[in-house]
């Protein structure tokens, strides 16, 4: 597994991992627990430069289910990578200076650190299985065989996964076999994909589907593998289409479903965004796009693409999905601009599209990330009430219910009060 992908999966499963205590997780998942927490802490503090009130980080992490002890260990890992420097006074953290890359993703080095930390075989197998299940649910007996693990080890992974809500199984209504899937990425019982596995029992179907990940938004015209072509015909692989100057073209993506209606809509939009720029990259008649990532980053900053004569047709799909609107360039008769509608949903969809091009798969959104990041804004520290708001709840987790007294105490710390008083 690539380092980037390792870190992305560590992040995905960490929410369920940090809420578990007990011998198994402490013995077998120690490194994954703290490095997954490290990725999530990066998401909170990236770009802050200096955190002079470490207690705010503890509150923010606590809201995300990461305990103070795990934060401490995760900070140690980040310090070793060189992403932060922790200053201590009398053994207590007095200040954190952060240097998490702003222009590149933070995943590669964390994945590398995990690799270098000699993770247990159980940890390694867990990540590989979860990454495999991201592509598609599979029969448990095939999972065991494919990843070369014994039944005991698999039972352990299954237990931790179930407790952490990143692994589940169900009985197939067709043949009664036990099918494993990750509720982080798929709903129960995806019939079409199981039919595909059944049709090609000798082939590494998930491996072939996963090959699309190397180039998300791959033009379907260039795919000639019979398994993948059948997968497309059966509708197992999403292939949104764009119709512009060279006719209708389809683009293939790995079949991550996303859980819940809102997430599915976001993924549909993200894939549409990629498809439109891939069209410009592969099929445009005039001035082809050289680097799709630069176009998307520019769209993120400027909320606009163009003007260009092909935008009217090439970005019509995004117009239809409500990602943006197309307008005529007032200085030209045949040139158009695409203007992003700057809503939180569209910005998240664009973020996912950028992840498709950088870390190859979208990562799960931290449910509370926006709220906890706001704690670091100047003037925001004193208005803590409860950061829990309506959000996509991926799983039911137990969070500490805060009494009025507790909220008062946290508020006291946030406005600069000293702990212990």
């Amino acid at each position: 597994m690539e380092n980037k992908i390792i870190a992305a999966r560590l992040q995905d499963i960490n929410e369920g991992m940090v809420r578990q205590i007990g011998g198994i997780t402490e013995v077998y998942y120690n490194k994954s627990k703290r490095l997954g927490a490290a990725v999530r802490i990066c998401n909170i503090i990236k770009g802050q430069d200096v955190i002079t009130k470490p207690e705010i980080l503890l509150i923010a992490a606590g809201e995300m289910g990461i305990s103070a002890d795990t934060v401490d260990k995760a900070l140690g890992e980040l310090e070793e990578i060189g992403y932060i420097t922790v200053h201590r006074t009398g053994g207590e953290i007095s200040k954190i200076e952060e240097r998490i890359p702003l222009l590149e993703d933070q995943y590669s080095q964390i994945g590398e650190k995990w690799q270098g930390s000699s993770p247990t075989e159980i940890e390694r197998a867990t990540l590989e299985i979860i990454d495999d299940l991201m592509v598609a649910p599979q029969r448990e007996r095939e999972i065991v065989k494919k990843h070369g693990i014994d039944n005991k080890a698999f039972a352990l992974i299954s237990d931790v996964g179930k407790s952490g809500s990143f692994y589940k199984n169900y009985k197939s209504p067709v043949d009664g076999s036990s099918i494993g899937y990750s509720p982080l990425y798929h709903d129960e019982n995806p019939e079409k994909i199981m039919a595909l596995f059944d049709k090609y029992p000798e082939e590494d179907v998930s491996g072939k589907i996963r090959s699309i990940r190397a180039y998300q938004g791959m033009p379907v015209d260039v795919i000639n593998d019979p398994v993948l072509m059948e997968a497309i015909r059966m509708g197992c692989i999403p292939t949104p289409s764009v119709n512009s100057s060279r006719g209708t073209k389809h683009f293939a993506f790995t079949p991550l479903k996303g859980v819940g209606k809102l997430e599915k809509n976001l993924l549909e939009k993200a894939r549409a965004i990629i498809s439109c720029v891939r069209y410009g990259q592969h099929f445009a008649r005039i001035t082809r796009i050289a680097t799709p990532l630069l176009i998307l980053k520019a769209l993120e900053r400027r909320k606009r693409i163009g003007s260009h004569s092909e935008i009217l047709r090439q970005y019509a799909l995004l117009h239809k999905l409500g990602v943006g609107i197309i307008s005529r360039d007032p200085t030209s008769t045949d040139r158009y601009t695409f203007n992003l509608l700057d809503t939180p949903e569209n910005m998240r969809a664009l973020e996912l599209a950028i992840q498709y091009l950088t870390i190859k798969e979208p990562t799960k959104e931290e449910p509370k990330i926006k709220e906890v990041r706001q704690l670091f804004l100047p003037g925001m520290a004193g208005i803590y009430g409860s950061v829990s708001k309506t959000r996509i709840d991926l799983q039911s987790v137990k969070t500490t219910t805060l009494s009025d007294d507790s909220i008062q105490q946290i508020n006291y710390l946030l406005i600069g009060g000293s702990s212990g008083y």
Binding site: D49, V50, T85, S94, E97, R99, L103, E104, L294, R302
Partner: protein, 358 residues
């Protein structure tokens, strides 16, 4: 501390004054050129007493130059030289300080936009700005004396970077300075002894100059397209769009003639350099003080009581500026194999270590 050299005394007063106004101050600057007269060699064009730079939050630079002379004549000669220096550096201000200045010279200076001070004038302005003999001028003198003592050893151990800072830095564009300084860091890395003050000071002085070049580079990126840092950084490091195009064409030709030659077009630290520039842009107000902050790190190595007299960098510049200054030190450490101990005091909030002078 008594200063017998009166030129020096004026120079230190002006330095203290400009420093109090927020400038980072460089003394005894030599301007050199290289020419082919018989052989390719360096030739000094001129030298002058004080060059001060002030970085603004939009990454514009304000530059001041000063000549300080303990004489009563030749004011016109110095004025015209200062006017040339002002023009050469695009300086916003120039100070001529002489023991006595006649009224005609003052009139010409006013026309040229040059500030004229005799020592009494200078004392009046210093008083208004809050620059005092003790601690400001005294500290300026102490730092100068300590620095002077170390020059011989620095020249002996590391002749190339010492010469570079003195003769070349101020005549080269920022991208050349970054490349040259990083190269020098890499060249000296295995010879640097972190226990030697002269080595620590030189490496810090190089870091100060690198911060000037880096701030200039960031200013170029900001002026060109603040939202395209990576590409802007690459273009500037390759000398601008035209130069980049030509170099890329040359590189492509070479790659055809010599495939797999291991050559690269841009330095390997370019992504990290862009990261530092992004950090500076991300915290522009705090970033505008990184040069004096790094200079402070250097000065307190020379005079360990510096913090006690003036305050620590954290107090003067704040946490974020100190952190951004440290980002530059980490950038140097990650790209040159210098011993980390060389910057240990500057990367820690506790200076001097264990509360003792070095």
């Amino acid at each position: 501390m008594a200063i017998n050299d009166n030129d020096l005394r004026l120079k230190l007063k002006v330095s203290a004054l400009l420093r109090k106004m927020g400038y980072a101050v460089f003394q005894e600057v030599d301007l050199c050129t290289f020419s082919y007269q018989n052989k390719y060699s360096r030739k000094q064009v001129t030298d002058f007493d004080v060059l001060a730079v002030l970085l603004e939050p939009d990454f514009a630079f304000s530059i001041a130059v000063a000549e300080c002379k303990n004489v009563e004549e030749r004011a016109m000669e110095f004025l015209l030289k200062l006017n040339g220096l002002k023009s050469f550096f695009g300086a916003q201000k120039a100070y001529l300080v002489q023991r006595r200045l006649d009224v005609n010279a003052r009139e010409v200076a006013r026309e040229l936009g040059i500030w004229c001070f005799d020592e009494e004038n200078l004392d009046t302005l210093m008083s208004g700005i809050g620059v005092q003999e003790k601690p400001h001028v005294e500290l300026e003198c102490a730092v100068y004396m300590e620095k002077t003592k170390l020059i011989k050893e620095q020249k002996k151990d590391f002749p190339k970077p010492t010469k570079y800072l003195k003769y070349d830095f101020w005549t080269l564009p920022e991208h050349r300075n970054i490349i040259n300084l990083m190269h020098q860091f890499q060249q000296i890395s295995d010879k640097v002894d972190a226990t030697k003050v002269s080595h620590a000071v030189l490496v810090h002085q190089m870091a100060v100059n690198l911060s000037v070049a880096l701030a200039q580079l960031t200013g170029q990126i900001v002026r060109n397209n603040i939202n395209n840092i990576e590409d802007g950084c690459k273009t500037r490091m390759l000398g601008g769009s035209r130069e980049r195009r030509d170099r890329e064409a040359l590189f492509d030709t070479l790659a055809k003639v010599l495939p797999d030659n291991g050559l690269t077009l841009s330095p390997e630290y370019l992504p990290k350099l862009a990261e530092v520039a992004a950090r500076l842009i991300n915290g522009a107000i705090a970033a505008s003080k990184i040069i004096p902050c790094l200079d402070h790190f250097t000065r307190r190595i020379l005079v360990p009581s510096y913090d006690t007299a003036l305050g620590s960098p954290l107090v003067i510049y704040g946490d974020r500026t100190v952190k951004l200054a440290r980002d530059i030190l980490y950038f140097i450490l990650s790209n040159a194999k210098l011993p980390e101990a060389i910057f240990a005091d500057s990367l820690s909030d506790n200076f001097p270590p264990d509360g003792k002078d070095k």
